[in-house]
């Protein structure tokens, strides 16, 4: 076990370090944002009261647990800290179990006197260690910032507990699915569902009389994220919900170990279907191949787009009802959106998320070109009558189609929501402008990732996802954390055209168009001279 763990740490340390640093950064930035923007009790009470009145915000924030600075920090930050821990853990779990099995590395280990379950057991130890590090460093950074020690430790523990729970979920997903791609998708879908469930539970909860706390409804108790919030750090400081998450995670890990010893190496519990003996007539061109390889993922992102679109306008209408009574709600939303009217602001916020989803779909498609190249399946295609530029631009084309589908699905759902609510005509225009603006933003990610693929192929995967991550943090959280405007304006999703107070504000549209044109033309021109860059 020890040599195996040492080898994994060598492979993993940088990635784990980045996840943990991300969590520390989030904690410190959250602390800075709270003390800067919500320094007084009155500020915080105002926001919390606004949240009670407009519970939509609870989808993106934690559980209100009082008006102290610490409890408010947990309200702002804890779901995202837990999300980081959860993502780190599921990817870790799948990478070292199903991922290794797919690559054939587990076979080498299984052939030694080591037990068949050793890789799974090592992954459990590895994941527990990573979550312990994340929890401890998050807690230490909060203590270092001057927060109460018990609350800081419990904040870390709550995030780490969610991490362990998703370590277990990732391990089970890796047993059930036959490929690491499948296991990762299953685990991430469960993660998103758990995150939403917690939000719904909080939205449906009962506010306290002073409008600073909410007692969650039952759906929040079905989600590890919900348990983390029930810790209520800096308020109730209850450790047992974090322990519940830990226990469930360990139970799932034990179940995964049992499943591992019950099956053959390389097999899954979802049986492999037999394929066609011959290709359909449609599968006869390079772009048909790209579509065939990407369509499942793109449809997944488009479903996310539909959900986001529905929320953008139906919740918007709900928010509109309470806006009159609660000017504070509008103030918060304006802060995120830098826009005027509340309904318009809601649309802007949700369409920013839609833009992120579309960018994810597009970047994943461009990254697939790199995966095809590294995996060796690009070579037989390029040895046929398919030119380099044609091969490459088909990925860019399908990525653009993905953007259109995801944004289109979101816009369609948003229009449907408006129609159902008999909304004002102005909002249709807000949806149209926000949607088309995010279309442009998502295409910027496509074009830049494509350029990276041509110039620095080995960096494609990391660069593509890092760009989305950084842009999302700057665009979505920059204003809340009190970042300067120039910093948030770097993010393409934050400078798209919006409708504010009935007026169309183009903001950085021309910059977006320029970026798409330069990166797109540059990548195609350079692709003419680029040779195939194989192996990892």
């Amino acid at each position: 076990m020890i040599p195996l763990l040492r080898q994994r740490l060598r492979r993993d340390w940088l990635q784990l370090l980045l996840w943990v640093l991300g969590a520390v950064l989030l904690a410190v930035a959250g602390y800075g944002g709270v003390s800067q923007s919500y320094g007084t009790v009155a500020d915080r009470q105002e926001v919390l009261a606004a949240v009670m009145a407009n519970p939509v915000i609870l989808m993106f924030r934690g559980l209100p647990s009082g008006d102290s600075a610490g409890a408010f920090l947990a309200f702002e930050d804890l779901p995202w800290l837990a999300m980081l821990a959860a993502l780190m853990s599921t990817f870790l779990a799948v990478r070292h179990t199903r991922g290794d099995e797919e690559a054939g590395r587990s076979e080498l280990i299984a052939a030694t006197p080591a037990s068949r379950t050793l890789p799974t057991l090592a992954t459990i130890v590895h994941g527990l260690g990573a979550n312990l590090a994340l929890a401890a460093l998050t807690a230490l950074s909060l203590i270092g910032a001057g927060m109460d020690a018990r609350g800081s430790l419990l904040t870390g523990a709550a995030a780490g507990g969610v991490g362990v729970a998703f370590l277990g979920i990732g391990l089970v997903a890796a047993q059930v699915m036959r490929t690491s791609r499948g296991a990762n998708s299953l685990a991430v879908w469960l993660l998103v569902a758990a995150f939403l469930l917690r939000g719904i539970g909080n939205m449906a909860g009962t506010p306290s009389d002073d409008l600073t706390r909410i007692d969650s409804a039952w759906p929040a108790w079905l989600s590890p994220f919900g348990w983390a919030e029930q810790v209520r750090p800096f308020d109730a400081d209850a450790p047992w919900p974090a322990l519940l998450a830990l226990a469930v995670g360990l139970a799932l890990a034990a179940a995964a170990t049992a499943l591992q010893s019950a099956r053959d190496l390389g097999a899954g519990f979802v049986p492999e279907r037999r394929g066609r003996a011959a290709a359909t007539a449609a599968l006869s061109s390079p772009h048909a191949l790209v579509w065939r390889l990407s369509r499942g993922a793109i449809l997944g992102w488009a479903i996310g787009g539909v959900l986001t679109g529905v929320l953008a306008t139906t919740l918007s209408a709900l928010a509109g009802q309470v806006a009159g009574e609660n000017p504070a709600v509008a103030q918060v939303l304006e802060k995120i959106a830098r826009a005027g009217d509340l309904d318009e602001a809601m649309i802007t916020v949700f369409f920013t998320m839609l833009g992120i989803l579309a960018a994810c779909a597009a970047v994943q498609t461009v990254v697939r070109a790199r995966q095809e190249e590294a995996h060796g399946t690009a070579e037989p295609v390029l040895a046929t009558a398919v030119g380099r530029v044609r091969w490459f631009s088909d990925y860019a084309v399908v990525a653009t189609v993905a953007v259109l589908l995801v944004v289109g699905a979101g816009m369609g759902a948003a229009y449907a929501g408006l129609a159902a609510d008999d909304a004002a005509d102005g909002l249709y225009r807000a949806v149209t402008v926000a949607g088309l603006g995010q279309l442009a933003a998502a295409c910027v990610f496509t074009a830049i990732t494509a350029l990276v693929f041509v110039v620095l192929p080995r960096a494609t995967l990391a660069a593509g996802w890092a760009l989305i991550g950084i842009a999302s943090i700057l665009g979505m959280f920059g204003p809340l954390f009190g970042m300067p405007e120039w910093a948030t304006d770097i993010s393409p999703i934050a400078v798209t055209p919006v409708v504010a107070q009935g007026e169309v504000d183009l903001r950085g549209l021309w910059w977006l168009v320029l970026a798409i044109a330069v990166a797109g033309a540059g990548s195609i021109a350079l692709m003419r001279r680029r040779e195939l860059a194989g192996d990892g």
Binding site: R178, G275, L283, P286, T377, P380, A385, V386, R388
Partner: protein
């Protein structure tokens, strides 16, 4: 005769590594040309340049008279390629991959000739086309590429160690296919480090070593370059005295052995007859020996 592939002074550098260092290769139409060399000698790099997957650093390369980098797309309509390490798409079935690759080459898969050829090849290679790509073994992935290459006709077949994952039975099927396309007039460039395969199949052989062609010619011509080994039963080393043309004379385990220039074999036969040599064995040089001669210095250095 037409030259299908010609390179002169071809070089390729990866950073400081000279993968190709002035390679001169010439393959004429209708030939099965063996491209022989150990791993790392530059076989795959040459093939990648000839297919326009990699760009030459210097020198000349032409395929069917065209530039393999600039005219890749048009040239590839006439070329079928089997890579050494075949990867296929994990979520496509083998049959889908075969059809897709054939269509991308510009051939029609509705054509009854193609359908019949595919069926025949699947039967001969004992290949199940309905399995998903990820379920195939190395040998089966290789069959996908081979079936895709042979199911539709091509003018040039570029095969990079195509049998490395096949069992001996399937190698026979592969040899039959090579014979079939040669009879149909196609040209074949067959890279290999398996000598028996090249000996069985090839009209001409080019031996590559450290990015250069070390030797090229028909098998007969290359045999001429090496010596025939003669051995017979003897009581002691004295049996070797008085054979003027003998090289490397040695006595071991009750057998005397020596090597001799191949055109001098007839001249020693009377001497052997005079000694009443029993258990006489006269063996023409195998490609193994050709190989050792070209890489012999490396073997002596103790390197692979």
């Amino acid at each position: 005769m037409d030259t299908v592939i010609r390179t002169s002074g071809l070089t390729k550098r990866y950073g400081r590594v000279h993968a190709l260092d002035g390679l001169d290769l010439s393959v004429t139409a209708g030939q099965v040309h063996g491209f022989l060399g150990p791993n790392g000698a530059g076989k795959t790099t040459t093939i990648r340049i000839l297919l326009g997957l990699a760009r030459k650093t210097g020198g000349e390369a032409s395929v069917f008279g065209g530039d393999p980098w600039r005219d890749a797309t048009t040239l590839h309509r006439r070329i079928a390629y089997v890579p050494g390490d075949v990867s296929i798409w994990p979520n496509l079935s083998g049959g889908e991959a075969v059809d897709l690759l054939t269509r991308l080459r510009g051939a029609r898969t509705r054509d009854p000739g193609y359908r019949a050829a595919r069926e025949r090849l699947e039967a001969a290679f004992q290949f199940d086309p309905r399995k998903k790509g990820r379920a195939y073994s190395k040998g089966n992935r290789q069959k996908v590429a081979l079936i895709a290459a042979f199911a539709a006709p091509a003018d040039l077949y570029v095969l990079d160690e195509p049998t490395s994952g096949l069992d001996p039975l399937m190698e026979v099927v592969f040899r039959d296919e090579i014979a079939r396309v040669r009879d149909a007039g196609a040209t074949v460039l067959l890279s290999s480090h398996i000598l028996s395969e090249v000996e069985l199949l090839c009209d001409r052989v080019s031996i590559i070593r450290a990015g250069r062609i070390a030797e090229t010619g028909t098998l007969a011509e290359l045999r001429h370059l090496t010596r025939t080994e003669v051995s017979f039963e003897a009581a002691d080393a004295g049996a070797l005295d008085g054979i003027p043309a003998a090289h490397d004379a040695a006595f071991a385990d009750g057998r005397a052995r020596f090597t001799i220039d191949s055109d001098a074999v007839a001249s020693v036969l009377p001497l052997l007859a005079a000694r009443g040599a029993a258990g006489l064995r006269i063996e023409p040089p195998s490609l193994e020996e050709l190989f050792l001669r070209h890489y012999g210095d490396q073997v002596k250095d103790g390197r692979p």
